[in-house]
């Protein structure tokens, strides 16, 4: 054995041993989808929740990766499962197939998927009642519109985003039966989450057709809507994270989807040994979805509009109003 191979053997061994020495940690992997951690919306919310878990929970270490294309999910998940990661969190509906495959292969590992249902004992599926939150911002838009026309811009044309659209339109019609909804989608591939230039053209077109409030659920493409709102001096509604700060004065409110909270809870539950497979639903009742009010929009969102939305929220929670759900409609 030459010296060189001898040394490299030891180095190789060390490379395996060193991580084991620190292996006492509870290791969490967060796999983001194509929007990326800076989408200021969907993925950013997941990152916030996981980072908070890392900062506040003792003995938890975190690794965040972004998949640059849809074919990367499976190999990323597999590589985490093969290593000593305890909990693997997949963000986004496009990862459902990959989670299904990899979780079946590694039944001793825990998986969490956001926005999709994967039926397996070691997978927890976090589902949000987007239609309820969208109903509320739809009602706000329906109350505040002066032209009687409101707009919706979806990212990729998938049932999940259609759920936002349906709830939003229903909310607007509930308070303003004559309200007209103009609806567009950025695209039909996952590039649609990352195409602000196209989203801006869609928004300019909708404002041009008379819409004065536009709601977008389009990941990183949302910034295109906000630019258009600023240029045309019209209103926009943000999504997933609280986006009011991005263009204060032009963003009426944001439909919150508390992925941060759900991801944090998933980490903390699993750390304490309380992991449960199955579906966890987050709705208006537990503030899993909501609309945002903060210092950036309290001057543009009148008190009575807020009060009305709160009242509608209570009525949905109590079951007095039934919000149409695209997932149900499809069946």
């Amino acid at each position: 054995m030459t010296i060189k191979t001898y040394v490299s053997c030891w180095l190789l061994l060390a490379a395996f041993l060193v991580p084991c020495a620190f292996g006492a940690d509870f290791k969490v992997a967060l796999v983001l989808d194509k929007g990326g951690r800076d989408d200021k919306s969907f993925n950013s919310a997941a990152v916030r929740g996981a980072t908070k878990a890392k900062d506040e929970l003792k003995g938890l270490s975190l690794k965040i990766v972004e998949a640059t294309d849809d074919n990367a999910f499976e190999s990323l998940l597999r590589s985490f499962a093969q290593r000593d990661f305890d909990l693997i969190i997949s963000v986004g509906v496009s990862q459902a197939d990959a989670v299904k495959k990899v979780s079946a292969r590694f039944s001793n590992k825990h998986f969490v998927i956001v926005d999709a249902v994967v039926e397996a004992p070691n997978v927890q599926s976090l589902i949000f009642q987007e239609h309820e939150g969208s109903f509320l911002v739809g009602a706000i838009a329906g109350t505040m519109t002066k032209t009687g026309k409101i707009g919706f811009i979806g990212g990729m044309d998938i049932p999940l985003i259609r759920r936002f659209e349906l709830g939003y339109g229903a909310g607007a019609k509930h308070v303003n039966p004559k309200a007209k909804l103009i609806s567009n989608f950025v695209g039909v591939t996952s590039d649609a989450w990352n195409n602000p230039a196209k989203a801006k053209e869609l928004a300019v077109s909708q404002y041009g057709q008379g819409a004065d409030i536009v709601f977008a659920a389009a990941g990183a493409s949302n910034s295109g809507l906000f630019d258009a709102a600023e240029e045309q001096k019209k209103f926009a509604i943000g999504v997933d994270s609280n986006q009011n700060w991005i263009k204060p004065g032009y963003i009426l409110t944001s439909m919150l989807k508390r992925i941060d909270k759900a991801v944090f809870d998933a980490c903390s539950d699993d750390l304490k040994g309380g992991f449960n497979g199955g579906v966890k639903r987050f709705g208006l009742a537990d503030q899993g979805v909501d609309f945002s009010v903060d210092e950036h929009n309290e001057t543009i969102l009148p008190r009575e509009v807020r009060a009305r939305a709160e009242k509608l929220k209570a009525e949905i929670v109590s079951g007095k109003i039934k919000v149409p759900d695209y997932y149900q409609k499809k069946k």
Binding site: G36, N184, S223, D227
Partner: protein, 298 residues
């Protein structure tokens, strides 16, 4: 759409078409420079991407869209120099090197954004005053005219064409083919970088990862469709822009029955238009004779 006037729709469509086609115009003029000189340039996509990143970064720091555009051009130039080194100096395969340049740009932009802004592939949003309002549209069309006049009516324009058609003839006339191709490729980088800049600081307000989304390749298609000539190429860019504007308008419109036409169908319209047009509506498109062939001084 019945309650909006036809004229209003038309004006909106024209505006939309002009905006959407601007980055394509710059990039396809860049492609024209390079390809007329005999160098295939599928690296346009990467040059646009790096230009978009540099422009958004510098415009954010200096609060000037003009400096941002200059930075975009500079970044495109640097990447083009890299490309030129491989394909002109070292005579590497142009398709392979071009692909490598695209991958380099896609990889280096998130890396740099991590260093500059602690983000993974996006730059901070630019306020309204730090972006262009309509200047790039005018600049693009002025460049189309300048390019057309230059290629057709100037001695250096003749050099460019000969470098792509009959490089040996140019060389024997005492003009360095290598030098002409270098200038052409560098100019191509500058134009593609400007195209990227118009995307990040004119159409959008920040850089986001892979924001060019295939526009470099669309520009190449426009170039082929325009038979490597400035005028028809510009028209091709407009056609792509129009198809895009049209599909935005047609989404959700009920054409027959009660259900609107599916988005998926509407969104393939620009591509159907491209395929139909390329498949024969414009007649035969002939590439420069020596396109893709590395020149070796004999």
């Amino acid at each position: 759409m019945s309650d909006t006037g036809f004229l209003a729709i038309l004006i909106q469509m024209v505006g939309s078409t002009l905006r959407v086609s601007t980055p394509l115009l710059f990039a396809s003029l860049g492609g024209l420079m390079s390809e007329r000189s005999g160098v295939v340039n599928i690296a346009l996509e990467g040059m646009m991407l790096i230009g978009a990143f540099a422009a958004a970064t510098v415009a954010f720091v200096t609060h000037s869209p003009w400096l941002g555009a200059a930075a975009g051009m500079g970044a495109g130039l640097l990447l083009a120099a890299c490309y030129g080194l491989f394909v002109i100096q070292l005579r590497a395969d142009q398709i392979v090197a071009g692909t490598a340049i695209n991958m380099l740009a896609a990889g280096i932009t998130p890396f740099l954004s991590k260093i500059f802004f602690e983000s993974t592939g996006s730059t901070p949003s630019l306020p309204l005053d730090d972006r262009f309002q309509s200047a790039p549209i005018w600049i693009a069309w002025i460049l189309v005219i300048v390019c057309w006049a230059w290629v057709n009516f100037t001695p250096t324009g003749v050099w460019l064409r000969f470098a792509g058609e009959k490089p040996e003839a140019l060389q024997s006339a005492g003009i360095s083919v290598i030098r002409v191709r270098w200038c052409a490729v560098l100019a191509s980088g500058v134009l593609a970088g400007l195209g990227g800049a118009s995307l990040s600081i004119f159409l959008a307000s920040s850089f986001s990862r892979n924001m060019t989304a295939g526009r470099g390749f669309m520009a190449l298609a426009a170039l082929i469709f325009g038979k490597w000539r400035p005028g028809p190429t510009a028209v091709a860019c407009l056609l792509f822009g129009f198809a895009d504007a049209l599909q935005i308008r047609l989404q959700g419109v009920v054409l027959w029955g009660t259900e609107p036409v599916p988005v998926q169908f509407i969104q393939i319209l620009p591509y159907i238009a491209t395929v139909l047009v390329l498949a024969g509506a414009v007649g035969k498109s002939r590439a420069p004779g020596a396109l893709g062939v590395a020149f070796k001084k004999g």
